[in-house]
């Protein structure tokens, strides 16, 4: 399924990134903040202020969206709601850090003058673009998944009894294994399109930042209680995102004009 040129370029991308760990630092920092934030909000702040989450009628009301969880205390229900909401934040925020990697990937090759010999090989445009996306996605997902393990360890140690068990649902699995990777693919592919259309790395990064806006909008809507997606809805969203990604990959291949990239860029 993965062609030799795609695998070769992907291997190069990962090797290159492993020698440039500083580039992954923003991704790791964002993941760390996203890891600590829910525990700060749901565990540390209530403990410091002495106020119980279950005493907040607004929080209790919005947490009802999760349905009934008879085994959980009021605090536990609110914790479960907040941890569920933060899970999306947790899974999507590392992508924001990876945007810079993806946005730099094509324009960076051009500026380093490594693109010309690469384009002289038999590698196809889609292979090149997919290798670039996967080169940013794989380390990002690795960081996110490492954080996820820590997140669940934190839940086991710090959350109200039963919250961890209640978190392990098909909805969580869909978020972790479908929606999050699909959203990451789509976002990074968009960044690659930007990278192949602009003339310098700074412009690519500026446009890359713009791509974070839709992700932020989803997160804000979710925390405001305006957006609550069921497992079925999440599955459809995930598959929809993958379909859009597939279309965008084909579109980005059409937008990737080798000729213009080699002759117009300075």
């Amino acid at each position: 399924m993965i062609s030799a040129p795609l695998a070769a370029l992907l291997r190069k991308e990962l090797l290159d990134l492993s020698r440039n760990r500083g580039a992954l630092l923003p991704v790791a920092i964002v993941a760390l903040v996203a890891l600590l934030l829910p525990f700060g909000v749901t565990i540390a702040i209530p403990a410091m202020t002495g106020q119980h989450l279950g005493d907040d009628s607004d929080l209790l009301r919005v947490s009802a969206a999760l349905g009934t969880h008879d085994g959980l205390s009021a605090d536990g229900r609110v914790q479960l709601f907040l941890f569920q909401q933060f899970l999306m934040l947790f899974l999507l925020t590392p992508i924001t850090g990876a945007m810079a990697l993806a946005a730099h990937s094509v324009v960076g090759e051009k500026q380093a003058r490594t693109l010309e010999p690469l384009l002289a090989t038999p590698i196809g445009t889609i292979e090149l673009l997919v290798a670039k996306v996967l080169g940013s996605l794989i380390p990002t997902l690795a960081i996110a998944m490492t954080g996820l393990v820590l997140h669940f360890v934190g839940l086991a140690l710090l959350a109200e009894p039963g919250v961890l068990r209640a978190m392990v649902t098909p909805r969580t699995a869909l978020l972790v294994f479908l929606v999050s990777p699909a959203a990451a693919l789509l976002s990074l592919q968009s960044a690659i399109v930007v990278s192949s259309r602009v003339n310098d790395a700074r412009t690519a990064q500026q446009f890359g930042v713009l791509l974070i806006i839709p992700l932020t909008a989803v997160l804000v809507a979710q925390f405001a209680g305006m957006l609550w997606l069921s497992a079925r809805a999440l599955a459809l969203v995930g598959l929809g995102i993958l379909a859009v990604w597939a279309v965008l990959t084909v579109v980005s291949a059409a937008l990737f004009q080798r000729d213009a990239i080699l002759t117009n860029w300075r």
Partner: protein, 308 residues
């Protein structure tokens, strides 16, 4: 083996290459000469399938280069760009291995090892490309161009930045490849290299000004110019030779003149010099340095352009 036919490439209003046609045949080295901005790199990129001509066509091994045939045809070409274009954070070996994989070459046949040895890169194979000198980077880039054993080489200034010893070894390598049937196109600013290496030289200045063997190009410039070296002063022979060329000149022992038909007139010229009592030490056709030929061709082109 590789040919461009009526290649024209425009960038907006600017024409970089205008109606250029030539071919590089099997077992042939063609050197592409021209001043900066003459369109050499554009031609090289068109022939390597990297950019498309605005008009005209490229044929590689009998197959027309198109968007569809491009990937398969690029596999037949070893391409060296103007800049080495190595991935700085990867080692020499890693750079070569990734390209071997891009061409789908097996790891077991030791092709990377062979090229590392050929280019004497063994002590440097674990060094990151960022730490290499310019000459060393060029060697790695050349090794990369040869990885898949291409039958066609398209090389943009291959010996640029190399020290004379390495440059010579690289030229020998090209000669060996030519002996093995490769077609090699080399863009260069080095006239001496072009003369020594190339079977034919193409002089380019947006249009193709001339393409021929170095000897033929030289003959065209110095057609009929004869040098006669005599014992004693050459001035004593001037009157005798001016019937062949009123502009004949004497400088020390050397007479220089032009003959309309050198093959027909040279014996008569020799007799005339001998008859005035001069001892002839040498008679030869004048050879112009390649630099003179090149500059003459470019100047003639400029004159043509200036003409209303």
């Amino acid at each position: 083996m590789i040919s461009g036919s009526h290649l024209t490439r425009r960038f907006g209003d600017r024409t970089a290459v205008d109606d250029v046609s030539f071919e590089v045949r099997r077992s042939e080295i063609v050197a592409l000469l021209g001043p900066n901005g003459a369109g050499k790199t554009t031609i090289i990129r068109m022939l390597a399938g990297l950019i498309a001509p605005t008009s005209g066509s490229v044929v590689i091994d009998g197959v027309l280069l198109t968007h569809a045939t491009g990937p398969a045809l690029r596999r037949k070409i070893g391409f060296l760009p103007e800049a080495a274009g190595l991935w700085d954070r990867l080692t020499v070996r890693e750079n070569l291995t990734v390209y071997a994989d891009l061409y789908g070459l097996g790891r077991t046949d030791g092709i990377v090892d062979r090229l590392v040895q050929l280019f004497e890169l063994t002590p440097h194979q674990a060094v990151r490309a960022a730490e290499l000198s310019k000459g060393m980077r060029q060697k790695v880039a050349l090794a990369r161009a040869l990885l898949h054993d291409p039958r066609i080489l398209v090389l943009d200034e291959p010996t640029s930045g190399l020290d004379p010893e390495i440059a010579r070894a690289v030229r020998q390598l090209f000669e060996e490849r030519r002996g093995q049937g490769c077609a090699i196109l080399v863009s260069t600013h080095n006239l001496d290299e072009a003369e020594r290496l190339a079977d034919r030289v193409a002089v380019l200045h947006k249009r193709l000004i001339a393409i021929d063997t170095p000897a033929s190009l030289r003959r065209k410039l110095t057609r009929g110019r004869i040098v006669v070296r005599v014992a004693g002063g050459a001035a004593a022979c001037l009157d005798a030779v001016r019937r062949f060329d009123r502009a004949a000149a004497a400088d020390g022992q050397v007479l220089t003149l032009s003959l309309p038909e050198p093959e027909r007139d040279t014996p008569a010229l020799v007799r005339a010099v001998v008859e005035v009592g001069a001892e002839i030490l040498e008679v030869r056709a004048e050879t112009a340095p390649m630099e003179d030929v090149y500059l003459h061709l470019l100047a003639a082109r400029s004159d043509d352009e200036a003409r209303p």
